[in-house]
């Protein structure tokens, strides 16, 4: 895994500054500390920071084709590269390395943008066609690997992380008010917007071609879902067999690496299944890594330990204390590059450091299973509320909600009244966003802390409208669960889960995560499974659990879903982080950023301090406001990237002085 960067003079041939390009690559040191390389000609500069995983000796980038008319910088893995390489060799392509990167370049040479449909992997890449003077940028289907860009004058600047774009002084750094509205509704921005004005992400499943000053953006893949008539009618046992086989293969090809591969193990079903498959079928020495918490409500140690002894795994855990979470938040945010509403990215940031210190560069994780197989409470909540809406007066139906949120319903006296809150909007079952309206509405409550100026700038912007416009044309043909899954995957998966709880916090410590559940074949298969087999009654991920029957311990299979969360107020308002929180949320700091109303934020802090157990929205508001303040401080007010002089410079192709023959 790596970091990529580039500067493209779209109109002129002024050349690109090597210094500027090297500064960008330097800002990505953590993504690729093993090597770095640059390519420059009179139009473009391509930079690469390498974390060597495949072909350790020969895979130095940028990589070129036979006649050096195509150059690639590539961040990612294409797991089926060995098969693709064979096919390309048969077609006459010659290779000078054993890397997957070179395979991708020849695949592009052979098929153009269609190459993306043949790749099974996670990647962000840039290919420069010297003859056509065309830049090709692409990103994997679900957006596991990041890619951002901006256009400053006639120059397009792109990089794996925004900080590498910001090292260019001509790029302005501002918070985008609309992005703030989106984050405080959906937990993330709606692509291609980022929290920084005029900095865009290349959306997942998209590619962009830029030549002669013109760019075209194209979607090459969308999250698969099907109408009932296109779904399987097979018996569950048969579907389970297919799921097992495919997942096993998804795991098998994700173990391809020239370095050892470990596994994350939380104690939940998804990571347990992945670790189980690896240890039992491929490598019984595989190391596993897990997070522990001080407080019982967050800790999954009991289940983790159960899996560890069952697997006889070589397990290492990190105790993610409240103090560690609090003091690590700023560094974690430096990598997330966006405000967050929960502290849950931080323990994963700490975990990747542990893995790095243990000498590993790659781990398999269980992320994605909840999205693909229907594991989240929000899916069950929508199903129950839909069922309830047919007889809104039924307390029996209403009672199904209680089990979903035991922490809300633990006081029997309050059950009936609590239920009434979930009864709101029961008449809106036909709304395309029925499944998500409660969550988005609740999150939007935090916007009351926005400053008057921020609210004025946002004006009457309506994020729902944008989501509506971007819905798949087939949305209405799908079952309700598929619709909810689509919303979750198209909004939350790439920009939050795979980013702030995925790539960014792992790559912060030079760790690559690989996600078998997001193998496109697995997603395709799951999309053809009927909703009733994904959530049977109120049993989430039923088909996945059934697929792992007799493979995983019963206690793990029968465990009810434990949402992964981390402490908030205990981490941020008490202990070592308290002074920083106080400073960042002081009246003067809030006035400087101008994003939030300082009086209201003061009231919020007082309220949370006075409570033993602050509410969900208040806690999210605290993290959201604090993280926005920190992001502003780090990226707008006081931006600086430290140069790491340890970064080896392995390759420099400088063709700026050469006369290049163009095809047009």
């Amino acid at each position: 895994m790596c970091g990529i960067a580039g500067i493209f003079n779209m109109m002129g041939n002024d050349g690109v500054s090597l210094n500027a390009l090297q500064s960008m690559v330097g800002a990505l040191y953590h993504r690729g500390p093993d090597e770095s390389g640059c390519y420059l000609d009179d139009r473009i500069g391509l930079g690469h920071a390498r974390l060597s995983i495949i072909d350790l000796a020969g895979g130095t980038q940028p990589i070129h084709n036979e006649d050096k008319s195509l150059w690639i910088v590539y961040n990612g893995e294409t797991y089926n590269y060995q098969e693709l390489r064979g096919q390309l060799q048969q077609k006459g392509h010659n290779f000078y390395t054993d890397s997957d990167t070179e395979v991708i370049l020849h695949l592009y040479e052979e098929y153009g943008a269609d190459c993306l449909n043949r790749m099974n992997g996670q990647f962000a890449l840039a290919i420069w066609d010297v003859k056509k003077r065309q830049l090709f940028l692409a990103r994997d289907r679900v957006g596991i690997r990041p890619l951002y860009y901006t256009i400053a004058g006639n120059t397009l600047i792109f990089a794996s992380e925004i900080k590498a774009i910001f090292v260019n002084r001509e790029v302005s750094r501002e918070i985008d008010p609309v992005a703030m509205d989106q984050i405080f509704t959906f937990w993330t921005t709606l692509g291609p917007r980022t929290v920084f004005k005029d900095i865009y992400e290349l959306p997942p499943g998209h590619y962009m071609k830029i030549s002669h000053g013109k760019s075209t953006l194209k979607k090459y893949w969308d999250i698969p879902f099907y109408s009932r008539s296109e779904q399987f009618d097979s018996a569950p046992a048969e579907i389970c067999e297919q799921i097992r086989e495919l997942l096993m293969d998804a795991v098998r090809i994700r173990l391809r690496a020239d370095v050892p591969v470990g596994c994350y193990l939380s104690g939940g079903l998804d990571s347990s299944a992945v670790a189980g498959m690896v240890v039992r079928n491929f490598n019984h020495d595989t190391r596993t890594f897990g997070i522990r918490f001080e407080q019982k409500g967050f800790d999954e140690g009991e289940h983790q330990n159960r899996m560890v002894s069952w697997l006889k795994a070589n397990h290492t855990e990190i105790l993610s204390t409240n103090d560690k979470i609090g003091i690590s938040l700023p560094e974690c945010l430096w990598h997330c590059e966006k405000p967050i509403l929960r502290t849950s990215p931080v323990p994963l940031f700490l975990l990747s450091e542990l893995v790095n210190q243990s000498g590993l560069k790659v781990v398999l994780t269980g992320e994605g299973a909840d999205e693909v197989f229907g594991g989240y409470n929000i899916f069950k909540e929508a199903k129950i509320r839909r069922f309830w809406s047919r007889y809104p007066g039924s307390q029996r139906r209403a009672g199904l909600i209680d089990k979903l949120y035991p922490y809300i319903f633990d006081n029997p006296r309050l059950r009936r009244s609590m239920r009434s809150f979930f009864a709101r909007g029961l008449d809106g079952v036909n709304d395309p966003f029925f499944s998500h309206l409660i969550r988005w509405g609740n999150t939007s409550r935090i916007k009351k802390f926005f400053s008057a100026e921020l609210r004025d700038t946002i004006g009457d912007y309506d994020g729902y409208l944008q989501v509506r416009e971007n819905l798949s044309p087939d949305y209405e043909k799908w079952d309700y669960l598929s619709r909810a899954q689509y919303l979750e995957m198209s909004i939350f998966l790439s920009n939050y889960l795979l980013c702030s709880q995925g790539d960014r916090v792992a790559m912060a410590h030079s760790l690559e995560i690989r996600l078998p559940y997001l193998d496109p074949r697995v997603m395709e298969l799951a999309a053809r499974v009927q909703a009733k087999w994904k959530i049977l009654g109120t049993n989430e991920k039923y088909i996945l659990k059934r697929a792992f029957q007799n493979i995983l311990p019963d206690q793990i299979l029968r465990r009810s879903k434990h949402p992964y969360r981390a402490p908030i107020s205990q981490s941020l308002l008490n202990g070592k982080a308290a002074p920083l929180t106080k400073d960042m949320l002081s009246e003067s700091a809030l006035k400087r950023t101008g994003l939030f109303d300082s009086n209201k934020v003061a009231k919020l802090q007082r309220k949370i301090r006075d409570m033993d157990n602050p509410g969900e929205i208040d806690s999210m508001a605290l993290v959201g406001i604090l993280s926005s303040q920190i992001i502003y401080h780090q990226f707008i007010e006081d931006f600086s990237v430290q140069t790491n002089f340890m970064h080896p410079r392995n390759l420099l192709i400088d063709r700026r002085a050469q006369v290049i023959q163009y095809t047009n």
């Binding site: 509405g441 009351k448 109303d597 009231k603």
Partner: protein, 93 residues
């Protein structure tokens, strides 16, 4: 009555709305306007029980009794009278 209502209003403005409470008319429905979510409701009940020293029985714990400022204040007032409690509020709460 006015004192009770003022105090409950102060709590909602300070701890739930966080603003000057401009919209908080005494007949505004908490649920319909979205002022209270489930957590806010819990917090309000806890505040009322602790501040006014009244016990709210299970059957009274329905949103209808707590849906507007006026209803909440009326409910608290009648409870206090019914319980024969000293209506004097603890100074400073």
């Amino acid at each position: 009555m006015v004192d009770v209502q003022q105090e409950i209003r102060g709590y909602i403005v300070d701890k739930i709305l966080f603003d000057d409470g401009e919209i908080l008319d005494e007949n505004l429905s908490f649920q319909e306007s979205g002022i209270l979510d489930s957590t806010g409701f819990l917090e309000l009940i806890t505040f009322i029980e602790e501040r006014f020293g009244i016990e709210i029985s299970d059957w009274e714990l329905i949103p209808e009794n707590f849906d507007t400022l006026r209803k909440v204040a009326g409910f608290v007032q009648s409870k206090k009278q019914k319980n024969g409690l000293d209506c004097k509020l603890k100074a400073g709460g």
